[in-house]
């Protein structure tokens, strides 16, 4: 049984997303003024990564079911 690459991709980006979202919620808003034009990029891009990670995990699970 070959490892489905979508599984580690999905896991990695979900983990990255969760870490960035949490950090985005607790971090000092001042860093976004100095760097990212006032956009809380950690929060926003963390959410995007969670969505992508979840899609990958869903595809991996679906692939597993289709094989079984």
């Amino acid at each position: 049984m070959q490892l489905d690459i979508r599984l580690p991709i999905g896991l990695l980006f979900t983990v990255f997303g969760v870490i960035l979202v949490i950090f985005g919620l607790v971090s000092d808003p001042a860093i976004y003024q100095t760097h990212s034009l006032g956009v809380n990029i950690n929060l926003v891009w963390g959410l995007v990564q969670i969505v992508f990670g979840a899609i990958m995990l869903w595809l991996a699970l679906r692939g597993k079911k289709a094989k079984a």
């Binding site: 070959q2 490892l3 690459i5 580690p8 991709i9 896991l11 990695l12 980006f13 983990v15 990255f16 870490i19 960035l20 950090f23 985005g24 971090s27 860093i31 976004y32 100095t34 760097h35 990212s36 034009l37 956009v39 990029i41 950690n42 891009w45 995007v48 990564q49 992508f52």
Partner: protein, 570 residues
Amino acid sequence: MLQHSIQLHSIDYVLLVTYFVFVLGIGFVLRRQVSGSKDFFESGRSLPAWICALGFIGANLGAQEVMGMAASGAKYGIMTSHFYWVGAIPAMVFVAIFMMPFYYGSKARSVPEYLKLRFDEKTRGFNALTFACMTIMSSGISMYALAKLLNAILGWNFHGCIVVSGVIVLAYIFMGGLTSAIYNEVLQFFLIVFGFLPLVLLGLKDVGGWDGLVQKLVKPATDAGFAPGTFTQSWAHIGSASSNPMGVEWFGLAMGLGFVLSFGYWCTDFLVVQRAMAAKDMGAARRTPLLAAVPKMFFPALVILPGLIAMALHSAGGNFQLPPKNGGLDYDMVVPTMLSHYFPTGMLGLGLTALMASFMSGMAGNVTAFNTVFTYDLYQGYIKKDGSDAHYLKVGRWTTVVGILASMAAAYAAASFNNIMDILQLVFAFVNAPLFATFLLGMFWKRTTGHGAFFGLISGTVAAAIHHGLSLPHGAEVGIKGGWLGAIHVYPSEMAQNFWTAIFAWTTCFFATIIISVATRQKKSDEDLTGLVYSLTPKIKEQGVPWWQRPALLGSIVLALVLVLNLLFW
């Protein structure tokens, strides 16, 4: 000064460490799936097309590429995208439609092995040896560039970076072989997309969108004495070499880059071809470069646009400034400067992780190509012909160790003797430029002989060297840049000289191969050449293949898309 300009916080390290855990974890899980040399070197020829396709671009998208393209973007503007639209996509379509049937369909396990089947032992040996040296050099340069960058921007220990990156790449290839390398290239592909897309979006927002960017780039263009739109129009200023900062004209660009160099790389370099050969069947192998071409043509938006934005911000004179270097600007620092400007801690960790991932997958791509060519073409070819499969698997694993150690040595060589690196890179450029003529004749003209191929290649290489020795880029000194035979022609830029060196090498190889082939006897019978030459190979039947899996149709769509992109940014 930009010394240690980036401060990382614990959150950035958490992201970095998480990535390394995943990389090693993938290798660890794949370890159990490697049961023979075919698994280790060819991924068991079992991967779906989309994975091979992302590996195909991932292996090519090393960090020098990412940083180099951004640097060129800042230096030359949008004309840099010719390296994608002219210098990659057409060749990718060609290799998929016309060449993959012979690579994948023959029994060859590597590109040099194809040369042995099609021509003879000496042609294979020449290609295998030069290729093996080249992969080690590239992997070493990757390592050196990574360590130098991390040392400069983060203050990390140079030697530590070399050892740690070497050990990590070694660990995952040693365990999972080619599959491990490809999986990590896919991971790296997504990391680059997720790490650089927000950078581009924030940058565009900052400069006022594409229109704002075009306006802000008028000043650097006119300051340098060019037409106002030079930085944002890809074809309009290419009529003569003096009207664009790249110093090239359209013929040199189309023939040198678009034909000789690009086809030479994408169609004959085992590093990329190996990814397609890992596909599960012929259809998937042919779709690999075609599927890869789609993201590839949009990559200028991710890797070149940051350079354009950096230049726009720099010339606007705000709080964003590129660091100076030797009286000009240090264009290599475009990416690190942009990352630290737009990314707060958190995203900064992700951006750096993406950069490190692409350094390491650039190394891994070279090392996997090296261990395959060394084991199959040099070790099995010349040292031990009749070993068991388990023996070659073992040799492959230990070759990986040797490859990494040799890369480290190359990294230190690059660090201490800059000239040696230049000379070696030049020699390999000479060897590579004529190669596509050999493959083109070999695959489409059955009369091409082994002697013709071998001596044609040698004369192409010699022609490249002579051309380089007789010409010089504008303003350069005689020596490593050329002119060592007496400069009789001066090119407006180094790039123009490179393109024309390639054109001379290719043309010489092409005609020399034809003349020598006609003069020598063809030792291979038609049966020997079946599956290796176009006219002697049965056409692939496409009945029952759905339209979206047909290579010719996919190829046409890809070419149409790239044409539209060229017209949009004309």
